[in-house]
Symmetry: C2
Subunit: 267 residues, 2 copies
């Protein structure tokens, strides 16, 4: 590390240890998420100290950060165990959750609400639904192998949504059902990704601690002909989902001429 | 809303209000982020009750959620004011922060650490640096118009990183400097996005509350010839940055034949 201006020696030492712990934690997180330790144990503290050229206190602080994120569990006398890997959700292609995660297990959906409502004006506008027309509102907690991974709030135009009322929404992706029902494939989606803290009620639904970090995805999905048919707010558990993509320095051709509604609009 | 099985009337009423508040908050959040209210005031509670067909308590709870996220401030007797819009960071193209946000203002970087270190084995492997060879480690707090937006931990191979030691890292993107120094343009980057809670030390650096939700981006950037030259862990303030992209149902051609290192690998 480069020399730092001297504040008090203790403050400085703490600051440096926190910095070092964060460095170690970031690299270890990558290993945990990448499955380097399987579902097993991390190397012992002495080995981590050597690998990372770090003090024992620094390594312990780093492991504490990962434990606070819910990635590992520290058992006195046993060591540090991987709680569960995260699941990668590709951002390269538009796909439903069950399609994306099918190799990891079964997605089941608890349908909390399924009803027809008068939408707020901004929802109507984004779905290009005329003033006064109702939309279908669907709310689901989605679980992978029984563990909750997301809370999805979905708005659908009536002609798309009403036929879904009789479908098996507990086990099937809305995307696939829309394609079956319309006989058209989906085209593109405009996606925004944010990090938000869980409110207490949402934390209870997703079985996470209060204020746990969530990945919040807002997605407007269009049919191949460009019509918006699905507006969603999805809260993914931050400790269970990773979004992955590949970026290029040059803009891919299909993105240089984006349709006019490709940018989030003012409501 | 659909009828729900009766639990106790009070629990049920609270649950339904929390559900409704979340719905209202999600739509309002979109409007705030999209600049629908500029940097000004949200409509009064009565108007929001009408627009969203919601009770006053529900609207207040929704505004409370947005206030907790740091997007709005509620001033008794005045109303609800937009604190600051978020900045959109495109996920469509590989670009540095200053390049991406130049229209919003000036990015300045506080260089906290810039040094040569022996990297952990997993860092060396991802940068394809031979065992025993050192790398350059750079740590920056990046601010937009003086407000901290991200904490970046960056590892660079020596031949790339050492020439950067004399450059103006306080004002320039590393991406642009790498391209100038190598005479090569960047090619692609493998990106993972997660949501994590801020640890206390990081919260202090980014001027957010303890456990605030952060967008954590892990990015391995390659030169056009495929060589990895920049490994980063970036913590964006969740209340200031939104990642935006457009997805297609069909996989874009440039992603169907990805190089073998396009997926995060086990460390």
């Amino acid at each position: 590390m480069t020399p730092q201006p001297q504040t008090t020696a203790l403050t400085e030492a703490r600051r440096r240890r926190a910095d070092r712990a964060r460095q170690v934690a970031d690299v270890l997180r990558h290993q945990v998420l990448g499955g380097a330790f399987g579902d097993g144990a991390l190397p012992g503290e002495s080995m981590l100290c050597r690998d990372y050229a770090a003090s024992r206190n620094t390594v312990r602080e780093a492991l504490g950060l990962l434990a606070a994120e819910g990635l590992v569990e520290r058992l006195p006398g046993v060591g540090t165990l991987v709680v569960s890997g995260k699941y990668g959700h590709g951002l390269n292609r538009l796909a439903g959750l069950a399609e994306t995660l099918h190799e990891h297990g079964e997605i089941t959906n608890q349908v909390r609400t399924l009803t027809v409502i008068h939408p707020p004006a901004v929802v109507a506008r984004r779905l290009r639904v005329p003033d006064g027309e109702q939309v279908v509102y669907l709310e689901r907690v989605r679980s992978l192998n029984g563990v909750p991974v997301s809370l999805d709030l979905t708005y659908l135009p009536q002609d798309i949504g009403v036929p879904l009322l009789g479908e098996d929404l507990a086990h099937r992706d809305v995307f696939v059902l829309i394609e079956e029902l319309t006989g058209q494939s989906l085209g593109h989606a405009d996606v925004s990704v944010e990090a938000v803290n869980a409110d207490p009620h949402c934390a209870a639904l997703l079985d996470v601690t209060d204020r746990a970090a969530l990945l919040m995805v807002e997605r407007v999905t269009h049919l191949a002909d460009g019509r918006p048919v699905d507006l969603e707010w999805i809260r993914f558990r931050g400790d269970r989902l990773t979004l992955q993509t590949q970026l290029r320095r040059t803009t891919p051709a299909h993105l240089t001429a984006t349709p006019p509604d490709s940018q989030p609009r003012a409501g």
